[in-house]
Amino acid sequence: MEENLPANRLPPSWVVFAVSVLFTSIATFYVWSTASDRDKRRFDELTFKTRVAIESRMETYVALLRSTRGFLASQEVLTQDDFRIFISRSELQRRFPGIQGVGFSRRILPAQKDEVTVFRQQDHCPSFKIWPEHEREEYHAIMYLEPMDERNQAAIGYDMFTNPVRREAMARARDTGQPAASGKVTLVQEIVGKVQAGFLIYVPVYDADPPPTALEDRRRLLRGFAYSPFRADDLLNGIFEEGTYPELAFGIYAGSSRSEPDLLHQSTGSFPTRSRFSASKAIEVAGMPWTLYFVTLPKFDEESNLYQAPTVAIAGLIVSLILFLLARSQERAVRERARLFESEKRAREEAETLNRIGRILSAELDLQKLVQEVTDAVAKLTGAEFGAFFHNAKDPSGNSYRLFTLSGVDRKAIEHLPMPRVTEIFAPTFRGEGPVRFDDVTKDPRYGKNSPHRGLPQGHFPVRSYLAVPVVSRSGEVIGGLLFGHSQPGRFQENHARLASGAASQAAIAIDNARLFEETRRAIRFRDEFLSIASHELKTPLTSMRLQLDTLLRAAKKGGGDMLRPETILRMIESGSRQGQRLTRLVNELLDLSRITAGRLQLEREPIDLLALVHEVVERMKPEIAQSASTIRVHGKTAAVGNWDRMRIEQVATNLISNAVRYGDGKPIDVTVEPGVDGHRLVIRDQGIGIPSEFLGRLFQPFERAAPRDYGGLGMGLYIVRQIVEAHGGSVRVESEPGSGATFTVMLPKEPIREKKESLS
């Protein structure tokens, strides 16, 4: 139902779907971008916290070392016990988790070396020695390192200044007076267990208070370093308890870039190959640049809201789909309702239309107008571009139907076209079979099968949709067919066929009535005309007879023989007698007519020579022929004998020759007798006024005449001729062209045909 779904507008269900998908997209994008932002913030927060935790812890250690320096600076003489007491007071293990220890490394000039060694050996450490032992400008031995566990014990006496990494930090601390962290080292304490990366922080202790400011003084007055060694893994594990930030992994590099050799610590065994976020951060620990590298772990993604985006998308799409289906089913319901309404309306309209057609038709007796009404009404109702009513009257070749009315097309447009022929497409309609309907007639296998056109003739307007219904009268006769066409395919529906059939039945009844009326009217007209002709024909001889008689009477009254010469009287009597014969002939003709129309024509057959008979007739007609300017030539050499009714055949010859004389225009007339094997032919040819083509078809009908009434005669002659010839089993036909005469050909079989009845019925 295209009228419910305009092609230029999207159906609302699709709009619903599109809008809801759009909303879904927007929502999905919003959720995704919000989650993204949140994740970024979360990452930043985690890295920040981690960094701050590391930095602040390192600050704490530096603070511890500063306080240790203060303690050391205040002691003139320092023993292991003093140092242990000081360190134990600082509750190292509890307050500074992850620290390996706090120690004092003393600067020793070569001169002091032995004295210090002895001093320390006497102070609870009999195996003390400064190592490595080679000679140098100054020595830096680890004097004390608390807590004095097995690991730290191993470091006592070690000269850290001999190691380049440590020396660099120590020199920096000495020269700046500030705490200084070393690069990555392996601690000398690494004697058991897994070797960890380590580093140290040094704080310089000077023999001056306040500490000297000049570089020279600092180098000269350096007493040693308060320092702490750190095992990186232990330290970081101390800062971050197990599972503090399960979403994040990080690495610490003792350097300004992320290079593997500088790696101090890595929070997991290995970094994941793929992660949402990663970042490097530079920090400074006791004057040493460190690089922190962070990556997110799968746990981070689990905490993310990002997964909500696909959920929102899927949920949104499902909702969209549901809305779409709901809208569509709603649409369908609306459409269905509209369709029902439409079909109900159409049914009502159809009924009304058929009623209206019926009313119009019952009031119409003019056949042409009536059929036009039907054709127009049905063409309009079915939306046909053209409609036509074709009479079920075939042309002389028996091949075509005759166009009666036309609707939608100018008659001129198709006048030049041949009429539809008896093809498989048309024939069923004119046989009175049900409606014929094609959505596309050109696609039907029966289409285009017939020569010469193979489809529509050249110049025919295009027809794709085709609908035809027969018009069948009460008596079962197929009066004709209503044919409808449209140039677009699929225009005619079942209901159109129904409608057309309904109209066709109405039309059939009306046509029956109109035809009856027409026939009656024509019969009356014929009767009137016949009476008028008969009266004229009868009155003409009567008129002249009366004139003659009255003249004679008048002459007789006036003085008899004196008035009229004898030859005049004779001529008048002869004339009167001829008029009497003429009246007899007319009366006989009327009697023949009445016999023929009543079916009582009896033939009295005897052997007759047609040629001889023609000669006799021409001889007898001499006076009549003489009156006209025409001459008659009889052609024929041999006898043409047949078994016929002499009087009737004479009647035929007389009639035809008389016609030729009457309409011969004074030109020569040829009468030819052609003998044949089974029968003989009589041809009468004149060169007179001829017969208009429209009369040829009904020339042999009763009361029909081609000529104007001014030419005398009852108009029954040719009708009687045909009846007689056909009663003999023969035939008569005419060929003529107006202006160049007419040729009548009578064919008479020699013997009666057994099967045929000799009397007409």
């Binding site: 008028s532 009266s535 004229h536 009155k539 003409t540 001889p541 009567l542 008129t543 002249s544 007879m545 009366r546 004139l547 003659q548 009255d550 003249t551 008048r554 002459a555 008035m563 009229l564 005049t568 001529r571 008048m572 004339s575 001829r578 008029q579 003429r582 009156q627 009457r662 000529a707 104007p708 009434r709 001014d710 030419y711 005398g712």
Partner: protein, 119 residues
Amino acid sequence: MNEILIVEDDVAIQEGLKELLELEGYAVRLARNGREAIQALRADPTPRVILLDLMMPVMNGTDFCRELNQDPSLGRHRVILMSADSHIEEHAKALQTHGYLKKPLELDHVLETLARHSC
């Protein structure tokens, strides 16, 4: 004006009328149809009475009247229409003839009518 032109296709009527009218002292000329009558008048348009049949071949009475009225060179004549047609009075009126005679002709009526229109 006692010359009469008879326009009639039926020979018997023609002759009958001719005999009768000549007996009555009229000069009679004959024409078998309208065409012949026109030709006769063209040759001699002297005014006279015309007895005109309605139904004739070649040129009928109606067409003859039309041509006669349209062509003054044919002369001014008194036309009497003759017909067996029951509607002869209407025809006569339509053709504006001077009189009409209903067939079959009654002798007295014919002579009386002619006497009225001849001088």
